[in-house]
Amino acid sequence: MVRFIMDGQPVEAPEGANLLEVALDAGIEIPHLCYNESVKPYGACRLCLVEVVRRGRSRLTAACTHPALEGVEVLTKTDKVLRARRMMIELILAMCPDDQVIQDMAKEMGVQEVRFKKGDKDCILCGLCARVCDEVVGAHAITFYSRGDRREMGAPFVSEAQNCIACGACVVVCPVNVIGMEEKGDERTIVRWKRTLKMKKCKICGNHFAPWFQLEKFKEKAKLPKDFFDTCTTCRS
């Protein structure tokens, strides 16, 4: 366990914990977009900025990528922190002016207007979709491409994501809800990655419950019996 001070309060955290999870556990609210506890911290959105005072020196840093360290002082609500966070949300809002989630966050953080030219993106480039796909699902279907202000998230060659198993994990994890999943008849489509897969019919209830491709991958990976996915989860239990 490491002990340190957060907003004047002594806190304890297990070794290796990051400042954001410690703060959230302690009930201290810190805005964040690119952080999700199911994947490794990435430090992209820069919303969870906090001040860390270490050996008498204070600096701004993202809480999600900063380890909890013995004896440091963490300040989450100083003027400096709030000022920098406001600029971050303004920049994100300028990039994606129509995202409802971003609009709400900006309002809450006191950003009334955007001083930059409005962009027309919807994706905030947090990378959560790709990280979940890599680290949790293991499908590696999508990735960032290009750099600088041309950076985008997408499938190889900007066409159909051929490794995508249409599990929908990315859809669930996207903080601004812009990936999209549709089910029609026996087909499921992950809209953003242009991936449509046929779904399997449950032998018992007759419902289409999951894409064939996904079930085959899972069966192979978890070494399940051949007929394991002949029935849907509901009928199996």
């Binding site: 990435y42 430090g43 992209a44 959105c45 820069r46 919303l47 900025l49 600096r59 701004l60 840093t61 993202a62 990528t65 900063h66 380890p67 400096k80 000022r83 920098a84 600029m87 971050m88 920049l91 994100i92 300028a94 990039m95 001083r115 930059f116 030219k117 480039l125 990378g127 990735t143 960032f144 290009s146 750099r147 600088g148 202000d149 041309r150 950076r151």
Partner: protein, 623 residues
């Protein structure tokens, strides 16, 4: 090549090489660096080869293609030894005369000598050229006398003397103590004390450690590391081997960008030769110490010069930086303790070991010891690579070494530290150049880029240029850097195109502050510098653009108006012919006709400046 298994055998080999070389014999050295390559040294080399071949009695005359001499402005450079006559801007057709006259008869060819720009005096010897006089070429100096593809040449100038000294008469801790005492600071820009870094890496827990040479130089206009790696790769390797021994590492990488083909080739040859000779690989010089070096080629992303992005790139990952709360000396390449230093830092190491920290720390200032190589470019007479002691003033670099500003124009600023460095104005020209002083004035040492600007340079345009580079080269991972540089560039564009508002300056400063404070790596952390330092020193120029919609340096096209002065105009009609959009009306005067006055239609004018360029009578005015 035979394998050398002891320091004694190495000295014997060196003695053999030297015994075959007579310093009184004729030798022609031709600079084969990238600068001279661009000005055609390859053809000059071929011409000399042919002349020497045709010459029946060429025994005794040797030819050597060397590394960069630094005086790239005057390339291709040829030096005739033993007289050390320097010929500049040599053409292939001069080869025959140089051999006939200078080499064989000892006569100097006046027309090929360097002429002093102010006194007009012809200078014969390389050492007397003002460009070299104030330099202190302890790292770079050997470039001009060795063929980088021959390890014998490096041995002949005393190379690989520090290595046996370190391996056989010093303990790793002693080497680290010596480098710490010398206060060698990282030449890649950070300025972190190398000895401290080595010590931390040595003491980090783990059994495998790596050392890396960062040769991913990417600043526009800077090519110090390139020339060093191309021209004297063994000095860098020797530094790396000593460093690896001190740190306890057995595996190293040279990360060099693939756009540096000559550097990639020469460092590859050097590694192979050092291996064959037993200076790299297993049981180096019989000391029992093993060390291998691999070359890893970078794809040209600027951000891969950042240590964590560089390591990700070696691992085969996308070159993106990560947070460094746990330092790379603890967990770097493949999560193992890793010590990364820049090319120039490594090249300093053999010198410190050879001559000692006491000698080394005499050079330089209180906080910055030794020399620094700068790439002096821009509006200056002598462009090229210059190695100067730390603490020399900007004035000495620009005027004494650089020969001042061409065309009698006025000095305006000097930009140091690469794209994310800052612009230093004339009021600070007597500033002693070292790590701390440059930071104090809002710029930085960086890897050593130095761009001189004169009165015809618009500072807002300069800031825009660098911001454009940075927004393209940001990896795009974190919001503050990706969006911050993009928006700063957008605002700077608005100002240069006449749409600037009074709020823009405040917004730039606010955005600059946030980008600096909130970004993940040093690229974003320093990216606002071009904007912030120009606002700091040239606020009035910004205000001229914003309030009066005028560009005092007459650079920002959208803010210019072209007018034809009717009382000066001779009605020749050249401007109208040159105008690509037919914005100029009028009729030229001929023998028969009187002609009609020429006028520019501002609604049609695209401000390309063709009329201004074409007018021989200065009748076109720019405002």
């Amino acid at each position: 090549m035979r394998r050398i298994d002891s320091p004694q055998a190495l000295e014997q080999f060196r003695a053999e090489i030297l015994s075959k070389r007579d310093p009184r014999q004729s030798l022609i050295t031709i600079c084969g660096g990238t600068g001279c390559h661009a000005s055609g040294c390859h053809q000059v080399v071929e011409a000399f080869k042919k002349v020497l071949q045709d010459h029946a009695k060429n025994n005794g005359i040797s030819l050597r293609v060397t590394g960069c001499h630094g005086f790239c402005e005057r390339g291709p450079l040829v030096v005739v030894h033993p007289q050390k006559v320097l010929y500049q801007r040599v053409k292939p057709e001069d080869a025959s005369a140089i051999v006939q006259e200078t080499v064989l008869k000892g006569k100097v060819i006046d027309s090929l000598l360097y002429e002093h720009p102010t006194t007009g005096e012809k200078i014969v010897s390389e050492e007397d050229v003002p460009f070299y006089k104030k330099q202190m070429r302890i790292i770079f100096g050997n470039n001009g006398s060795i063929d980088p593809t021959r390890i014998e040449d490096y041995l002949a100038v005393g190379g690989y003397q520090a290595l046996p000294k370190a391996l056989f008469s010093m303990k790793p801790e002693q080497i680290i103590a010596e480098v710490k005492k010398a206060n060698l600071r990282g030449r890649g820009g950070g300025g972190f004390p190398a000895g401290v870094k080595w010590e931390q890496c040595r003491n980090a827990p783990g059994d495998i450690r790596y050392v890396i040479c960062n040769a991913d130089e990417g600043d526009p206009g800077a090519y110090m590391d390139r020339s060093l790696l191309e021209g004297n790769p063994h000095s860098v390797l020797e530094g790396m081997i000593i460093g690896a021994f001190a740190i306890g590492s057995h595996e190293g990488y040279v990360y060099v960008r693939n756009e540096y083909p000559l550097a990639v080739m020469n460092v590859g040859i050097a590694i192979q030769q050092a291996q064959e000779l037993g200076l790299l690989g297993k049981n180096i010089l019989g000391s029992g110490f093993d060390f291998e070096v691999k070359v890893s080629r970078g794809g040209g992303a600027f951000v891969c010069g950042e240590s964590t992005a560089l390591m990700a790139s070696i691992e085969g990952q996308v070159g993106e930086p990560r947070a460094k709360h746990i330092h790379t000396v603890i967990s770097g390449l493949y999560d193992r303790p890793t010590n990364l230093n820049n090319v120039e830092t490594w090249a300093n190491v053999p010198l410190i070991i050879n001559k000692g920290a006491d000698w080394y720390s005499q050079i330089g200032t209180e906080g910055s010891k030794g020399t620094k190589i700068f790439s002096l470019v821009g509006k200056v007479n002598n462009t090229g690579l210059v190695e100067v002691p730390m603490g020399i003033t900007l004035r000495e670099i620009v005027y004494d070494i650089g020969g001042g500003i061409p065309g009698g124009k006025k000095f305006k600023a000097v930009q140091t530290g690469g794209p994310s460095g800052g612009c230093i104005p004339e009021s600070q020209i007597d500033l002693p150049v070292d790590f701390d002083r440059l930071t104090e004035v809002g710029s930085m040492m960086g890897s050593g880029g130095m761009i001189v600007m004169d009165e015809s340079t618009c500072m807002v345009d300069v800031a825009k240029y660098f911001m454009n580079f940075l927004k393209d080269e940001s990896c795009g991972k974190c919001t503050s850097c990706r969006e911050g540089t993009k928006r700063m560039h957008e605002i700077l564009t608005e100002i240069t195109e006449g749409r600037g508002t009074t709020d823009h300056l405040e917004l730039l400063e606010e955005l600059g502050w946030t980008t600096m404070e909130a970004s993940l790596c040093a690229l974003g952390g320093t990216a606002p510098n071009p904007a912030l330092s120009t606002i700091r020193y040239f606020r009035e120029e910004y205000q001229e653009h914003i309030l009066h919609k005028k560009c005092p340096a007459k650079v920002c096209r959208a803010l210019l108006t072209y007018r034809i002065l009717s009382d000066v105009c001779t009605l020749c009609g050249r401007c109208a012919k040159a105008c690509p959009v037919e914005a100029i009306s009028g009729k030229a005067k001929t023998k028969k006709e009187k002609g009609l006055p020429f006028k520019i239609d501002e609604t049609k004018c695209i401000k390309c400046g063709m009329c201004f360029e074409s007018c021989k009578f200065e009748a076109v005015q720019v405002e």
